[in-house]
């Protein structure tokens, strides 16, 4: 239970960071975000994404525009705002600090270091 909670906390923060990073590359459709995240093995289902996007949008980090689609209804394309870019740059700094912190604290452990976060919390 405790392990699960920690996992969720960790993943949640990283998920937001990743989504912001993906969107910062340029305007993007929600399902494309999903496929990017899937490539990164982060997100399993799409339903989780929509509340997150809505929250980020409400906080002013994202905005969206409607675009006609060839295969169905008009799509929402998300793009990052100036505020979102500011937040992202601050998150970059934090992430680097975290990577350093985790790597430093992992030194001397005989574990597979490709997924330090997960393995650590699974203990």
């Amino acid at each position: 239970m405790i392990a699960e909670n920690t996992q969720i906390q960790m993943r949640k923060g990283i998920l937001e960071y990743c989504i912001l990073s993906i969107i910062s590359r340029g305007e993007i459709y929600a399902s494309d975000i999903i496929s990017e995240l899937k490539k990164a093995q982060l997100l399993v289902v799409e339903g989780t994404l929509y509340p997150l996007l809505t929250r980020l949008k409400n906080n002013g980090l994202l905005s969206y525009i409607w675009k006609e689609s060839t295969s169905g209804p008009p799509r929402k394309y998300y793009e990052i705002t100036q505020e979102g870019l500011d937040v992202l740059s601050r998150l970059d700094v934090t992430w680097n600090e975290l990577v350093f912190a985790v790597n430093t604290s992992l030194v001397g452990r005989n574990n597979d270091s490709t997924k330090p976060v997960k393995d650590n919390s699974d203990e």
Binding site: Q9, P51, L53, R55, K76
Partner: protein
């Protein structure tokens, strides 16, 4: 053959046309059911706020897009279960959202809660906290008061005129039961989000659900406490009232039961429902009548106790059993009353005429058949009353007097009437009535009652006696016949006697061509009376001097009256 079978299976798959985001899809029925319940789950999960509407819209958009892709990729027309499951897997189930983004969603919910998203309470019945159907606890949740006060109020209104019962039934029909957890939270006015879901679930598990009402109770200040004490006092008063009624009912039951086995006489003597019934039915009818009143009252009593002292609800089986018994007793009462009522459907009358000995004067008097004369002609106050229950005394006797021509012979006509479920039964019953006056030269003696033969029940048996007497016949009527001779004005006639009304036992009448009239002239002149025992006279036997109240001297000499009147 094989082709035909295939056609059949295809034909049996019903398709439904749905519209998601203004795009039309054909979908198989079973797949539709799955999709529908999935959408309902999602809607419940995300709630009703402005932002969640947006989320739902996004999800719907995406689902319709994925469906479009499926149709294009498979070059088919109809979506099946496989497609729906694939889409659901990709979108994720509610359980996936909960584990993945619980906190995220919750924080979002918290924000939306604070601005604008007001949670209204819903008026629903609470099936977890119920006496009958949870109406009172539902009202309690809605108005933020403890359910027991609402119950007490209802109980009071049921007692006072029963208006509460009607209101309760209407509310029962109108208020939906809070079946799902979301319903229950809406009923209590909590936002139906995950935290509350979780909390509600945990509370259900650990059984601390009562903290809600307790908390509210504690907020009550001095005034509400005083109010509570008053309400409680009223409640206790009603408990005592209902309890006393219950005890009274039990005493009544015992009393009637003793009457049935003849320990206490006279209860069933004259009137009341049991008197009309077949003796074998009486115990059952008595028990049915008792239960039909006792069970609802006992239920009310228990309810009051429950409300006041927080007793446990009655065992469900017991409640059901009592209800069934009550219905049965009501049924029995209806059965007995209709069967008794049937006995009164037809009525029959038998007429019989008998001659009378001709006399110029008749002395009419009543004979109390319950009084046994110890000595001939002497009416003794010491009588032995009949305690035989099976022979009932009936007093439905009326006597009338009709005039006939002075040359005709006098006669008496009896009309015996009775009722029954058929005309024949009624006639037989009327024939069984045994009543006749006795003539002893000038005396006409009427029994004060007639007896029903053994085993006969009261079926409106009546006797009308009509005396046909020649004009000019004198009648001396004893006042104990007064209530049977309603056509004759005793009071008027008695008034003409210059005596204390209470002293007049026999009143004299004459049959005239106009009917039965008082024998005395109207007032003023004092009539001679043979009644020597009267204390208002001074009688000196030898000289025949009589002094009355309104005469000074009344002297008789050799049969010639000399009278000096008071001026």
């Amino acid at each position: 053959m094989i082709q035909l079978n295939q056609l059949k299976t295809i034909a049996m798959n019903k398709t439904i046309i749905i519209n998601i985001n203004s795009i039309v899809f054909h979908i198989e029925e079973d797949a539709y059911e799955v999709l529908r319940s999935y959408m309902i789950d999602i809607q419940k999960h995300f709630g009703q706020s402005e932002d969640s509407r947006e989320i739902l819209e996004d999800i719907e958009n995406r689902i319709s897009e994925m469906f479009t892709e499926k149709i294009q990729a498979g070059s088919k027309e109809v979506l099946n279960m496989e497609d729906v499951n694939a889409v659901i897997d990709q979108m994720g189930r509610v359980s996936d959202f909960e584990s993945e983004d619980q906190d995220d969603y919750a924080s979002f919910r918290r924000e939306t809660n604070s601005d604008g998203f007001k949670v209204g309470k819903k008026l629903m019945r609470d099936p977890d906290d119920r006496v009958f159907s949870g109406v009172c606890s539902g009202l309690g949740h809605f108005f933020g008061i403890e359910a027991k006060w609402v119950r007490l109020l209802f109980a009071l209104f049921v007692i006072i005129g029963g208006s509460g019962l009607l209101v309760y039934v209407i509310l029962w029909i109108v208020m939906p039961p809070a079946m799902t957890r979301a319903d229950k939270m809406e009923m209590r006015g909590e936002a139906p989000n995950i935290q509350n879901f979780k909390r509600s679930f945990d509370e259900e598990m650990s059984g601390v659900r009562d903290t809600f009402s307790r908390g509210l109770d504690r907020t009550g200040d001095g005034v509400t406490k005083l109010l509570q004490i008053i309400v409680k006092a009223i409640g206790v008063f009603f408990v005592i009232l209902v309890g006393a009624t219950l005890i009274g009912l039990i005493i009544g039951l015992i009393f009637f039961a003793l009457a049935i086995v003849n320990v206490i006489p006279d209860v069933m003597d004259d009137s009341g429902p049991f008197y009309l019934m077949e003796p074998n039915d009486v115990p059952f009818a008595l028990i049915a009548g008792f239960l039909s009143i006792f069970i609802p009252l006992a239920g009310l009593f228990y309810l009051l106790l429950r409300v006041l002292f927080e007793k446990k609800p009655m065992n469900n089986y017991l409640t059901t059993t009592l209800f069934v018994v009550w219905l049965a007793s009501i049924g029995a009462i209806i059965y007995y009353s209709t069967s008794v009522a049937k006995e009164f459907r037809e009525s029959s009358t038998i007429v019989e005429e008998k001659p009378l000995q001709k006399q110029s004067v008749y002395f009419l008097s009543e004979n109390d058949i319950r009084v046994i004369r110890l000595k001939n002609g002497v009416k003794s106050g010491v009588g032995i009353k009949s305690d035989n229950f099976s022979s009932y005394l009936k007093r439905d006797i009326r006597i009338r007097i009709e005039r006939i021509d002075s040359l005709q012979a006098p006669y008496v006509r009896y009309e015996y009437s009775a009722k029954g479920n058929t005309y024949k039964v009624a006639t037989d019953r009327a024939a069984k009535i045994n009543y006749a006056l006795k003539q002893d030269s000038t005396a006409l003696i009427f029994d004060n009652a007639f007896q029903l033969s053994e085993g006969e029940r009261y079926r409106d048996q009546e006797v009308n006696v009509t005396l046909f007497l020649p004009v000019g016949t004198k009648l001396v009527i004893n006042d104990n016949l007064e209530d049977k001779l309603r056509d004759i004005s005793f009071y008027d006639c008695r008034d003409r006697y210059n005596k204390d009304l209470r002293d007049i036992r026999d009143v004299e009448f004459v049959v005239t061509s106009l009917g039965v009239k008082c024998a005395l002239p109207e007032k003023e002149s004092a009539e001679e009376e043979n009644d020597d025992s009267d204390s208002n006279h001074i009688v000196i036997a030898d000289t025949s001097i009589v002094i009355r109240r309104d005469t000074i001297i009344n002297a008789k000499k050799d049969g010639v009256p000399v009278q000096i009147k008071k001026k």
